[in-house]
Amino acid sequence: MWVFIVSEIMFFTGLIGSYIVLRLGSAGWPRPGEVLNTALLGINTVVLITSSLTMALALNAAEADRPRASGKFLLATALLGCTFLAIKIYDYAHMVHQGFTISSSLFGSCYYLLTGFHALHVLSGVIVVLYLLAASRVALSSTVVGRIEYSGLYWHFIDVVWVILFAILCLV
């Protein structure tokens, strides 16, 4: 799993690195908050960080062999993930409505590329969590606990990537 995370990190390094190079190399980059809805994306950050917390709690409960609590926290994680995606979709729709699309400016291209790939990762994360939820309902075996642990790792990784993206897209 660590190996997988490392290669995922390199993937986002490639994307973020390109973003930095493109940004440094071009004049007239929009100032923070000028285009993006920072408040909305800020809420999303909070949502995702909270979901990391519930994921950690789910693992905690699973390791303590409390399937009901673990299931509840997994469900919360998945719901928070869905909330994130829903806000994301609303954000995209709103932006496109305002004329800010993937081909309208270089910043737009970067924004949709980076957040789009991140959203795909969140989506796959949600699917994994839902699968774990179903599996832990059947039986909370040591295998399932192991899987919750590794998925948690992945979930935290997605979270960290988002925080970095939020910082470089909206704040700096």
Binding site: L15, L22, L106, Y150
Partner: protein
């Protein structure tokens, strides 16, 4: 592992039904054979394409005899200017990603890793199967791309933007399919890499410390590390190219062609070569390991300087990530930066020289058995010496200004990437064929195949370097268009025939391979008298390799140890190794 996969690896499991067993299997040996066959298919495909390329260069715009009318009906059988870039693009892409990679990583890695580390299967068998099927889908997409309107991709396998990223200059969907196929292949290799690393680190048999791992597995390990690090970078770049092509972004387009300002053309080259140079080592590292093991087995001596070899591999793995700039000396790079890249690049010669030192020292005072696998291993030593040393020329910034993008480069990377790696693939197949299929390949035919390939291959690639020194640009369809290239046109004709000979001599290999599948002599468990774990099981191995996971007592290269009386080798799983005192 915590992933619940061990339970599925019960040695008493009976092999499942035919379809599950052959095509949709999670068994590493079946997947390896599928990889091997897929790779051989593409190897033949890409090899035959060279005939068209060399025909065009030897006899520009002449109709191709016999097959021309079917391939290029609209031009009366001659290669067209539009078709030529497709030929060399697809040749490069196919050979690197769909022929060599599946054979050397897919087949060699999948087959040998679990056997040599004493495991019943890969760490993630289902991921392994998924990895193969990504390759299949990628392959199919590549095949389809030949038949879409506008034809297959024609921007060169290096996919340089903006030629690749602007649909104004490369409109066809074949181009998108090529990138998509490559991206799927990248995902496939990535999954394989994760599997290899985990298997080597986690599933080694008791007693098999990392210092007792055969060198081939070390090579595969470093190669997988490079893959997981750098492939995602190029995957990101490929997705950005696709966005540029179809979603109207402009990451890699600049100048008058760009829909808007801000794109950076050279960024793509940095991303591509950031992966592209490690890719060379990804392919060659397993070959180096294989050569080390084979020289040891067939000179009946322990591999000389095992630790130094592994350390050199590690050094190259690290260095490979910081030399990509030597592909871009003529792109307007600051000469000082160029100097840094140059120095890092030629520094690769130090670990490489240690390989040669250790290989030759392994042979020294050995008892050499000149078998077909050893012939290919020695062939690799020779062609890699040529390829590595000519690499020094290209690394020199000043010299590169002249030979950059000429046939000197083409000759050089064919020596390293085609000759060395291809010989590596053959060495692998000739060595492991008895183990994989339980039958032996024909020895005499193998020798003939080696000598014909060796002589012709050297003729082809050294003449390529020579015309390159004369200034012959790569990727041009017709050298006779230039005054300064007219004197060397006879060499292009010579190359055409030499390549025909080289391709034709591979028929020997194909015949030998497919004929021996059924008609070869039955192979014993250990035909080469090798010491590593894989050769302790029957040929072909049982469905789950090991009834009992073996206990390992010594390194993989214990040949001719004093104290051995009945034979000159001892298996890693032989408890008598305890008394040898060594390692």
């Amino acid at each position: 592992m915590g992933l619940g996969l061990e339970g599925k690896m019960n040695p008493t499991d009976t092999p499942p039904s035919f379809l599950r067993r052959r095509l949709f299997s999670t068994n590493h040996k079946v997947i390896a054979v599928l990889y091997l066959l897929t790779g051989i298919f593409w190897l033949a495909f890409g090899g035959l394409m060279t005939l068209l390329i060399r025909w065009q260069l030897a006899y520009p715009w002449q109709p191709i005899p016999l097959i021309g009318r079917f391939l290029f009906p609209e031009s009366g059988g001659a290669v067209t200017p539009e078709a030529y870039p497709m030929l060399f693009t697809m040749h490069g892409g196919i050979m690197v990603f769909f022929a060599i990679t599946p054979i050397l990583l897919g087949a060699l890695g999948n087959y040998t890793i679990p056997l040599e580390v004493g495991a019943r299967d890969m760490a993630f068998p289902r991921l392994n199967m998924l990895s193969y099927w990504f390759l299949v889908v990628g392959s199919l997409i590549l095949l389809v791309s030949f038949f879409v309107p506008g034809g297959a991709a024609g921007f060169g396998w290096t996919i340089y933007a903006p030629l690749s990223s602007s649909t104004e200059v490369t409109p066809g969907w074949g181009q998108d399919l090529f990138i998509l196929g490559l991206a799927l292949d990248a995902v496939s290799i990535l999954m394989g890499g994760i599997n290899y690393i985990t298997t080597i680190l986690k599933l080694r048999a008791p007693g098999l410390s990392l210092r007792r791992l055969p060198l081939t597995q070390w090579g595969l390990f470093f190669s997988a590390v490079l893959n997981t690090l750098w492939l995602p970078i190029v995957a990101a770049a490929l997705f950005m190219v696709l966005c540029d092509r179809r979603l109207g972004t402009a990451f890699f387009v600049a100048g008058p062609l760009a829909p808007r300002a801000g794109g950076q053309v050279l960024l793509f080259q940095h991303l591509f070569w950031g992966f592209g140079h490690p890719e060379v080592y990804i392919l060659i590292l397993p070959v180096w390991g294989l050569v080390g093991d084979l020289l040891s087995v067939f000179s009946r001596k322990p591999a000389f300087g095992y630790k130094a070899t592994v350390l050199s591999m590690l050094t190259i793995t690290i260095l490979s990530g910081v030399v990509w700039g030597h592909h871009m000396f003529t792109s307007g790079m600051n000469p000082l930066v160029g100097k840094a890249f140059m120095f890092l690049t030629i520094a690769v010669s130090v670990p490489t020289a240690i390989f040669f030192f250790n290989w030759l020292a392994t042979l020294w005072r050995g008892s050499i058995r000149l078998t077909v696998p050893l012939l290919f291993a020695l062939g690799i030593v020779y062609v890699f010496a040529v390829g590595g040393l000519t690499g020094l020329f290209l690394a020199l910034q000043t010299f590169d200004v002249y030979v950059h993008d000429t046939y000197f480069v083409v000759g050089h990377f064919h020596y390293t990437l085609a000759a060395s790696v291809l010989f590596g693939a053959f060495a692998f197949i000739y060595t492991w064929f008895p183990k994989i299929f339980g039958r032996q390949m024909d020895e005499q035919m193998g020798r003939l195949h080696f000598w014909l390939s060796f002589v012709l291959l050297n003729m082809v690639f050294s003449v390529m370097m020579f015309v390159g020194l004369h200034g012959h640009m790569r990727r041009i369809a017709d050298a006779t268009a230039y005054e300064f290239l007219k004197p060397i046109q006879p060499l292009n004709v010579f190359l055409g025939w030499a390549v025909l000979g080289l391709v034709a001599s591979q028929i020997l290999f194909f015949y030998n391979f497919f004929h021996s599948l059924k008609g070869g002599k039955p192979a014993p468990a250990n035909p080469w008298e090798a010491g590593s774990l894989a050769w302790t099981v029957s040929s072909p191995p049982p469905w789950h390799n090991y009834e009992v996971i073996p206990q390992v007592w010594c390194g993989p290269h214990e040949y001719g140890a004093p104290g051995l009386t009945d034979r000159d080798w001892i298996s890693q799983a032989d408890p008598r190794a305890k008394t040898l005192g060594e390692s």
